[in-house]
Symmetry: C2
Subunit: 638 residues, 2 copies
């Protein structure tokens, strides 16, 4: 077997949503991927189905939202709460709230529901267009990492087997990723333990995907139903299918049949009529919250994502969405390393960030499940707002929508309360006066593209192309020339040894990259936004060449509609026309650092310091030269 | 040859945008279509390319907008005006305005540009999904209409020929449609004359579709350029292609080459740089405004649409859009007749409405061309707003966007200034207090769907399914019961002999329909809108069964956003929470009549009178019984 056949950039095991999204990210950048799955075919029915608002942003940024929507998914915006009727007979609605309220500021404030197989199909077809084909049924037999020679190009040896023919194949790879789910063989082979919280709960749940005929009025909302006969959740799906989560009697055990589940559902919905027209899938499960002790091998060559490293109940619709974010988080970091831009040390931030989120998810899930499994009291005129369950639900919206997922300070998320930021604090441009925070998502805001007068979703202005996005909020300017701070920003960015000039665009990126089949991709993407009406912006006169060479990335902050001022987005950033800002956003949409836009070198000094902590080339920063070598870097433990 | 092979509901000749859209409409309702085109393949390059805002609504209502957008068309929102620079050297921008300003209230305030072949492709694939395949290259040899037996089922005899094999085929048909373009053989065979306005203008124009490299800054806007070297228009297209309309020297004649055109374009754009990277297509034309004397045979069995009955210059991008509206206007009327709902007499309203629009278009085109062909003076500090050309342009936006296309009063458009309305004036519910007008488009407004809290474009709430849309603006109600006027509306609608009970849904529609392959389609579609916040609407308690049986068509008028009252859409209709209204909208989105929603029978009396004028069954209306037989019906001249 020739070398060319056996060498891959990445081996991915498991073609569920997490593994597929991981491959889809890397396939965009031309990596050579071996992707196997032990199943003979993609998911046929059941399993995950809820795409949370933030995940739709993520898919949109990858150009996949339209493909999802082409399947005509279900969507819901509301959660209705039903409780035992005070009369003692049946159930009645005690409230209805948005599932993603306006306070979350989601671009798409609804949950999109689609059978997992169709979501997988969107990703599989995207991969096929990019030349990556999932091999089935193949399993991983063994793997090892050459830790003696950490700098070897393909340090991971993988042995895989065709489950039909028994053929065994050896592969050399740079990375290995497990998207195998909760029973991850890679996790077991790495000896990574799952730790479970307490004992698994006694409550057993049934799941049914079905179409029914009913006079129950809320089948276009998500419904949380507590009745004298038990609890149930209903989720509207595509093709008028509904998903039912049915609480089963504690004693039901493994013998619980579809009939048993349907009988419980019928009792819970009484006095409303239920006729089962078509059952697509059913299953049952017990709730257990578990988390892996580590997310990777010590070598940072083998990684786990999705259910392979965290398990919880499906009812808040977080499993697939958390897996998506795991996959994207890791993918861009591997790309940043492999293209020769970032140090290998940033790979440790994958576990640092994503384990932090998984722990929050488990906390949420445990409390939510406890509340959900408890029998609720009749509402005798009490305000539902006072109810623990409803309170917990409302407080959780921010997190469950995906917008409340935040990352702690680390080398990528520069927070002025964190020791890492000391270097930046030496600049007069830091910290910026802003309401944004590093480690949170860049907000969904509208601006007007100057060249064509179209309204642009600024958070989507740059696709998921691996580039750091540098948003320059240039504020107001009364001159027709280039404002001084903007001119200085461009000037110092172009100075030798800066964050920018150390990694100029369209160069051959050398040995760190994955070879000639990988097209040159931008490392930085600039978006310049003026707090002006579009008609007052003359790109040729007002925008430095560095920022204006892509004319489509110059914007007016005048898209908020009639009766508003031309700095709505500037204000949303917590700055305004007089106190402008540069916001550095990571390739995955999370804010890396926020700097004041000032005259002189101070703004670029902070950017040099920020990038200087994790890139491979030495920055010629003035700040750097002043030296702060003793600062502890807690997250870079390897 | 068996009868089944030779009999078709409709024969369509010509597979340009007009003919294809006509077939696409009828194919939705199951009609059996023979569609031929003399060309061997669809349009490869050039020709029409601009989809105006209103046409995008139309395509959206047919479920085709996403298919158009999947081709990643160009879009533009602005028109820039360039004029000779006061220095005497070159050109300078004298202004830029929205091509579809806010005053037009378009749902999509931009022009979508896409090569005509791709637009045809969207329609061809839609037809193929519905089993209609365009036959090429076939031409029509002859046709005749059996006027002796006007009630025969297939009165049209058509003879067509395969241009490759010479095979001739005879067809029996119910209707024949010419979408053949300006050289329509069917028009000639009918002996219908084109009348041209004056002599064709001396100005000759060149057209080039090309990609260029340039430093001209406005290539994402439509540009109207007047220079010392002549006039030019630039239109941005998909794939960074630009369309150039170049005014050629009067003496250039037919000998004008691509090089000549490019040289003019280069001179016009001076001092900006022009390098021709890729020329996709070019052509030249002289401007002539012509209109057919009639749009159909006297039998109302053979019809013309699109360029077959009106020609004008392409520069305002109206040809294809006018053809679309011709086709849709005729298609739903044929459907209304063939399903046994409307009298054959309504077919005369096709010419009445569409010739009216074509005449307005020719007036506009003549004045616009004249202004465009004239050399403009330097702007020496004068306000461009004062300029004739700019003025004409701005006034024309309403018309060119498609939103200003209005139909005169006739049997379908009940205007209280028109004799036809006398019958309705006997009701206390007519005329309604409203700013709407029959014959105009139902406006683009947002409402909230009660069952799922989604924001709905009310004008798109009912697809183009052939149904009349009955929007009931139910206003406010402080009771939890059904408001009295709404209850009466439902009650009298269900009374024997009413507009509704005369044509109840889901019945076998009998001999008037096209047979069993046509699924039952609704004749009426109700949308009920309350001037309330969504949370205050209980469908089961507040909506009569007639209107609430499709729960998805009950809306709250609370979608206008924060700080607004819950009657924004009611007010947009010119009514408000206290003076509610019923708006009857034709299947093509134009308003048919507007009635007050009042207690008692008065509201339904007007609907009975309105529909009673053109449906096939006698309405038991109280108003009808009072009799107004002598009213002249001017448009129903056949």
């Amino acid at each position: 077997m020739s070398d060319s056949v056996r060498k891959y950039d990445v081996v991915v095991v498991g073609a569920g949503p997490t593994g597929l999204l991981f491959s889809a990210c890397l396939a965009r950048w031309g990596y050579k991927i071996k992707h196997i799955d032990i199943r003979s075919e993609a998911t046929v029915a059941g399993r995950a189905d809820g795409i949370q608002p933030r995940s739709l942003d993520l898919l949109c940024n990858m150009g996949l939202k339209d493909d999802i929507m082409a399947h005509k998914p279900g969507t819901f915006r509301d959660v209705a709460f039903w409780d035992p009727d005070p009369s003692g007979l049946g159930i009645s609605r005690t409230g209805s709230w948005p599932s993603c309220p306006a306070s979350v500021s989601a671009r798409y404030p609804f949950t999109t529901t689609l059978h997992q197989g169709l979501i997988e199909d969107v990703l599989i077809r995207d991969l096929e267009r990019r030349g990556v084909h999932i091999l089935r049924p193949w399993s991983i037999l063994a793997f090892s990492v050459d830790t003696q020679c950490p700098d070897v190009e393909y340090p991971v040896q993988v042995k895989i087997q065709n489950m039909n023919t028994g053929d065994v194949e050896g592969i050399q790879s740079k990375y290995l990723f497990s998207g195998e789910g909760v029973k991850s063989s890679i996790r077991k082979k790495l000896g990574i333990q799952m730790s479970y919280r307490g004992s698994p709960l006694v409550n057993q749940w049934g799941v049914i995907d079905a179409r029914i005929s009913t006079d129950f009025p809320d089948i276009k909302s998500k419904c949380n139903i507590h009745s004298e006969a038990g609890s149930m959740m209903i989720i509207p799906r595509e093709r008028d299918i509904l998903r039912f989560y049915v609480q089963l009697p504690a004693e039901s055990g493994k013998t619980c049949t579809l009939d048993d589940m349907q009988e419980v559902a019928r009792k819970v919905l009484h006095p409303f009529r239920v006729e089962w027209e078509y059952v697509e899938w059913f299953s049952s499960y017990k709730v257990a919250q578990g988390i892996a002790a580590k997310y990777s091998s010590d070598s940072q060559r083998v990684f786990l994502g999705g259910d392979a490293c965290h398990t919880h109940s499906p009812k808040a619709g977080q499993g697939m969405n958390t897996g998506f974010l795991d996959a994207q988080n890791l993918a861009w970091k591997i790309h940043a390393v492999q293209r020769g831009f970032a140090s290998r040390s940033i790979l440790a931030t994958y576990e640092h960030e994503r384990m932090h989120v998984a722990k929050r998810l488990l906390d949420f899930d445990a409390s939510y499940n406890k509340l959900f499994s408890e029998r609720r009291q009749n509402h005798n005129g009490g305000q539902p707002e006072d109810d623990d369950f409803v309170q917990a639900f409302r407080e959780a919206c921010d997190f469950t929508s995906g917008y409340g997922v935040t990352y702690p300070p680390n080398v990528l998320n520069l927070d002025h309360t964190h020791p890492l930021s000391a270097i930046a604090l030496l600049s007069s441009a830091y910290p910026a006066k802003t309401t944004l925070r590093a480690g949170t998502l860049f907000p969904a805001v509208d601006v007007t593209r100057v060249i064509d007068n179209s309204t642009v979703h600024l958070e989507q202005a740059v696709p998921f192309n691996g580039a750091f996005r540098i948003y320059i909020f240039a504020g107001q300017t009364t001159t027709a020339g280039i404002p001084a701070a903007l001119a200085d920003f461009a000037r110092y960015s172009l100075q030798k040894g800066s964050y920018y000039s150390s990694f100029p665009p369209v160069q051959n990126e050398g040995t760190g990259n994955f070879g000639s089949h990988c097209p040159p991709l931008p490392i930085y993407a600039f978006c310049t936004i003026f707090a002006l009406h579009r008609s007052d912006i003359d790109i040729d006169k007002m925008v430095p060449r560095l920022l204006g060479s892509d004319r489509s990335q110059v914007y007016a902050d005048d898209a908020a509609g009639e009766g508003t001022t031309n700095d709505t987005t500037h204000r949303r950033m917590g700055t305004d026309g007089n106190a402008s800002a540069v916001v550095v956003v990571r390739p995955d949409g999370y804010i890396g650092c926020i700097v004041r836009l000032v005259e002189g070198s101070a703004t670029v000094d902070v950017l040099n310091a920020y990038f200087g902590r994790f890139v491979t080339r030495s920055m010629g920063s003035r700040l750097k030269e002043e030296g702060l070598a003793g600062i502890d870097v807690p997250v870079l433990r390897r």
